[in-house]
Each structure stands twice: as C-alpha cells, then as structure tokens.
Amino acid sequence: MTQLEHHSNLVPWQMLAQHTGATLRYVPIDGRGVLDQAVYQSLLNERTKLVAFNHISNALGTINPVKAMTAAAHAVGAVVVVDGAQALPHSHVDVQDLDVDFYAGSAHKMYGPTGVGLLYGKTAWLETLPPYQGGGEMISEVAMDQSSYAGLPHKFEAGTPNIAGVIGWGAALSWMQQVGLEAIEAHEQALLAYGTERLLAIPGVKIYGVAPEKAAVLSFNVAGVHPYDVGTLLDQMGIAVRTGQHCTQPIMDCFGIPGTIRASLAAYTSREDLDALARGLEKAIALLA
C-alpha cells in the first residue's frame, strides 16, 4: 500500500490482513506528495503477494507512475490492484497498456450516479477467482446439492443488478466521450495552472500536493486559519469546496494538519469559477483575521 491512499483502499486490506495474517507495508510520500520510488523498490521482494495503490490521489492530485510500478511488482510476482476512481474522470486510461491486474472505478466520479462502479480484471484472474456472492443470474446449473457457475462477467454479478445506475452511467460516459477525454484533460490542466497561480497570489495560502505530474485538484490551507472556517464562509458565498481529511487521514497526519480546503476541478469548471474562489477566499480571510 501507500501513504497516499483513500481510506477505501486501506481499510479493506487491513481487514484482509487481519483475516489472513498478512503484513501490510506502506510506501511513504515526500513533501510534494510524491511516492518515494526508492522505498517502493526496497519493499518489493518474493514474499510480496499484492500491491495496491491509487492512480491519482483524491487529496493531493498526485499522478502515480502506474506502468513502472506495475512492472516492478510483476517482476517479483505480485498482483497489482489499482484504485482508478480519480484517474478515470480526469485522464485517458488504458488498462492493457498499464498491464495492471485489477483496476477499480466509481460512476459518481465520472458524472454518473452513485451506487455503481467497476472492477476491471485480467481474464485469467477472473476465471481463477471464485464468486464472492451467490444468488440468481450467476449460475449455469443449479441442483439441490450443488451449482455450477455462469461464465464471465455473470459469475461476479449475483442478483438483480443496479439497472438504472448502469444506464445512467452509460449516458454519462457517452457524454464524456462526446466532449472527449483529451479535451477534458486539457481543459482541466489549463484550469489547474490558472487556479494554482490565483491561489498562490493570496498571502498565507499554501498548496498541498505539488507533484510534477498532477491532476486537477487544488488542496490548500491558509496560514493560521482552520480549513473548516474557510469552508464555512465559502459555502455561504455559494462556492463549493470540501474541507477536512478527504478520507485520507494518513496524508493529513504526514503533513501534521487537521485537513485542507479542496477545490476539485472538472469539465464544467471555468476560469470565472476560479476567480470567484480567489475573491471568496480573500473575503473569507479578511472576515477571519
């Protein structure tokens, strides 16, 4: 694992480790929010069973070198599971090129509905793995003493699926493709550069997550001010930011802060939105001073 993970890519592995007696090891981040690749290499050995990390950090925006990290893990025979929840909305992802074994994503991060997501797996793995839930629609033959399972992907889709959610997600994906993944990425990267410049021009603002490869998220704090106070005031001005730990407590602990203020940029964000954020932030700082 890494120190950069969303709780949803930490807690399940902690539960699994408790169950199996496995040992968890973590790759630390540096002051920019970049994973220490030397430590990563040093942690890999023939006893490494599985490596799990995110493609893009939701709290800091760091884009991890998935392809290289995957190759290194495969070299010691480890399985690679990547949390792609933030990469799928912000970049063009090619799971085959990355060569990862598993890749996960969430519809609600991709302009789609909540309660539905995806897990990609290499066919060989999916054929080997047993079903994790039993029910209707996932079997080929059912007798009173035993059943045989249906083929992929039905083996992993027990019960009535989230039909409405999947259709809604389909519409969202069509829209993303229409706009173009490259166009969205270019738009967001331009906004990221502009937003970074606007925020850093305000005295006392510190941006957390300054990786050279970074996705469109601005996580920051104001010197001497609690992030919650800033968030509350921006909220009153109709500016939507999230404040707190962003489900990444280990990152906040690493920086020794209670949390950050985070503005997430997307296809529908504009320069005017960032101007409003900068003006709102100046107003909030004046009120809190």
Partner: protein, 141 residues
Amino acid sequence: MESIAQREAAILEDFSFFDDWMDKYEHLIALGKELSPMSEEQKVEENQIKGCQSQVWLCAREEEGRVFFDADADAIITRGMIALLLRPVQGQAPVDIASYEFGFLDPLGLTAHLSPTRANGLLSMVKQIRLYGVAFQAKRG
C-alpha cells in the same frame, strides 16, 4: 438571574439587527474570539465531542444546583457556535438544560444551509449539552 427564555430572546434580538449572512458570521467569529479558552488539561479525549469536522471540547460542573460549562474548539466559527449555544444554558438548573430545545437555531438560519456533516456537528454539540443537564439531574436524584 435571567431565565433560558429571556436569554434566548436576547440572542434573537441581537441577530435581528443583521441583514445578511456576513454580519451573522462576523458576529459568530467575534463570539468565538471572546470565548475564554479551556485549559490544556480539560482538552482531553473524554471531553471531546465526536461528529464535528473540527475538534470541539465541552465539560461541565455543578455548583449549588447550577451547571457551568467550559468549551473550546480549534476552528473559530465552531468556537462562536458553541459560545452561542452555551449562552442560554450557562448557570441554569440541570432540569431546564435537559429539556431545552435550542429554539433560536432555526429562526437564525444557522441550521438551514449547513451541509449534513456540518449539521451533524451542531447536533452533537446540542446533544452533549443536554446530556450534561440529564446527568446532573440524575445525580441530584
């Protein structure tokens, strides 16, 4: 001493002079700055209120049938909020605190626009204040 109802009326009157959210929050920030800080010994986990986005501490003691609260928070607006919540109940009888509804919150519009996580934090503070009322009431029998 003023009753809870009298203090509640005074709060509503204070806020009636404010036209917009900025004035309200400036007032809350001022209340937060005025609240005397808790000692570090009081800022322990057992005095911490769970469910808030910032760290909030609350403790209470009883003197001659009256309850006195001390509170603190690391965010200034939260300090203002807890200071405001304590204003009607400070020094009141346990029985009155236990059943107090904090009826001024809704008319002040301080709950309407809160996101669920923020509203939860406020609710946790209200609950904890009432709980002290209940506890001291039970102790007196």
